[in-house]
């Protein structure tokens, strides 16, 4: 009970400033639109966006599911590929020297160029969207994880060797845990962009998804619905960011073991 209260108090302290600022900005926006009497197909007031939200509550969840699935699959794929490539790059210096420039170049090909090509190659289904998300998310994870693996404490590796550790044991018990914080830092960045990547890919050609919903709303001059989609995209991005944050906490419990608090837990 006391614990629940203290969590609530902490949440209020952490999020109250952001929520208040958001409410103030929405208020300013609402009154600015009402006073200036600007046309709703140019700038809709927040209240109008809220009404539009109710109008589309039947069709929106389907689009949301598609985009969320594409983002989640793409993110998972980039995590697996990114971690695997990082292991290879950290393991072999020649390979790292050869592949790093290519990785950087791959990151500089504009997505608006790649996405239509992927649609041409793989059709209007989920696959090209998942691939766009993967292409975006892959790079931060490879870079961060490679760095994390290379920065593992050399003395720890040596200690393991002095006890006769095999290469696979060193990898499992020293290198991978050392690189986990870096891996999650990379994954966190990728998670923040995953939804955006899926939406951009849907823009080019899709049969379902928030990107398609936006294109349709735009051609119908329903700017209020565009804003609905933007709000949903923002919420989805925050949710995926939070999910990765939670996964990181669960995967690395030692990082949150405070000096005082956990001493207590040990005694219990």
């Amino acid at each position: 009970m006391i614990r629940a209260l203290s969590i609530l108090r902490r949440a209020t302290r952490n999020y109250a400033p952001a929520v208040s600022l958001l409410l103030v900005l929405l208020g300013v926006w609402e009154s600015a639109v009402r006073i200036s009497d600007v046309a709703p197909y140019l700038v809709p007031a927040p209240s109008r966006v809220a009404r539009a939200f109710l109008e589309v509550r039947g069709t929106l969840p389907g689009h949301l599911r598609t985009t969320a699935a594409e983002a989640a699959l793409g993110l998972a794929l980039s995590a697996v590929l990114g971690a695997g490539c990082a292991a290879l790059l950290a393991w072999s210096t020649p390979l790292r020297r050869a592949a790093y420039p290519l990785l950087v170049i791959s990151q500089n090909i504009p997505l608006v160029v790649v996405a239509p090509l992927l649609v041409v190659w793989f059709g209007f289904g989920m696959l090209p969207k998942v691939l766009v998300v993967t292409l975006m998310g892959f790079f931060p994870i490879v870079v961060a994880t490679t760095d994390g693996l290379l920065r593992a404490d050399h003395d720890l590796v040596e200690l393991a060797h002095s006890y006769g550790a095999k290469r696979s044991q060193v990898l499992r018990s020293v290198l991978i845990p050392s690189a986990l914080p870096a891996f999650f830092a990379g994954l966190q960045i990728s998670a923040a962009y995953a939804v955006l990547g899926a939406v951009i890919a849907e823009w080019v050609g899709a049969s379902s998804g928030l990107g398609l919903f936006i294109t349709r709303s735009q051609t119908a001059f329903r700017v209020d619905r565009v804003f609905v989609a933007v709000t949903v995209i923002a919420a989805l991005s925050i949710a995926s960011f939070a999910a990765v944050h939670l996964a990181a906490r669960l995967a690395m419990p030692w990082q949150h073991a405070g000096q005082g608090g956990a001493q207590e837990e040990v005694g219990r």
Binding site: D153, D155, L156, E158, L159, A160, H161, S162, Y163, G164, A165, Q169, S173, V174, P177, L180, M252, P253, W254, A257, Q259, A262, Q263, V266, G267
Partner: protein
């Protein structure tokens, strides 16, 4: 090229170092060790005493088979090496850290955990098996690193300034405690230290080393009874040995081998 061979030796010796020299290539080349001779009998507690940078740690690393000597031969029974830093794994709890070395050396996990649990209280870690290393005090971290070393299925312990990072009072407690633990779980020990009293509190034999390039300038047997407590430290024998050690340290090794 010299040798560092690990394996059981036939003649009751646990460590046998024969004219080991080590030079690090470079401009100018660094002479770390110069003709070091050390012999530690099985069950003996030997200390390597010398100023910082005299190559004491390097000699341990040679015995742990992490560095090869430039010339000479270093042989040792199966050794468990404990470096200066405690090197606990932050992502393993106390129990997991305790069994780390044993696990790598091939002890079955259940067996290692059972042995670790049996020793936890002896190492002052009872009730902390589920704690993370970050939650332990400096003394506890060091005891945990020692427990990890003890649990490795090895005959000889190579301890590199295990109490160097602790305050003087804690260090004194840990020295007393280490004597007790060794009485219970006997091992051959080669301890590196730059603390004259620590060497006298713990060792049967003290090797005094010169500044770089490290040479053994004196081998001094310590014929003090055990356990060595506060009364020992103020005894005339202790004071005389301390004077002899300090003289050997000041001497710089120009007069060659003394004592023995």
């Amino acid at each position: 090229m010299g040798h560092a061979r690990v394996g059981t030796m036939p003649d009751g010796r646990a460590i046998d170092v024969r004219s080991v020299s080590l030079t690090y290539a470079g401009r100018p080349p660094v002479h770390a060790l110069d003709g070091v001779e050390i012999e530690v009998a099985r069950g003996e507690f030997a200390a390597l005493l010398g100023p910082s940078g005299c190559g004491k740690s390097t000699l341990l690393r040679i015995l742990a088979d992490l560095v090869r000597p430039t010339s000479g031969e270093a042989r040792a029974d199966s050794v468990a090496y404990m470096p200066q830093r405690d090197l606990l794994l932050p992502w393993r709890r106390v129990l997991g850290n305790a069994v780390f070395a044993a696990e790598l050396a091939g002890t079955p996990p259940d067996e290692a955990k059972r042995r670790a649990r049996a020793l936890l209280s002896r190492f002052g870690l009872e009730g902390f098996e589920q704690a993370w290393p970050a939650q332990l005090s400096g003394g506890m971290r060091q005891r945990l690193a020692l427990l990890r070393t003890f649990l490795a299925p090895r005959e000889t312990l190579l301890l590199d300034e295990p109490f160097g990072a602790l305050d003087a009072i804690t260090r004194r407690q840990m020295q007393r405690w280490l004597q007790d633990v060794l009485a219970l779980e006997p091992r051959t020990v080669l301890l590196v230290t730059h603390d004259v009293e620590e060497a006298l509190n713990l060792a049967d034999t003290i090797y005094v080393m010169s500044p770089r390039p490290g040479r053994v300038v004196a081998r001094i047997p310590v014929a003090l009874g055990r356990p060595r407590d506060a009364a020992t430290v103020t005894s005339p024998e202790f004071v005389a040995l301390k004077a002899r050690l300090l003289a050997a340290l000041d001497d710089d090794g120009t007069s060659g081998l003394a004592g023995s």
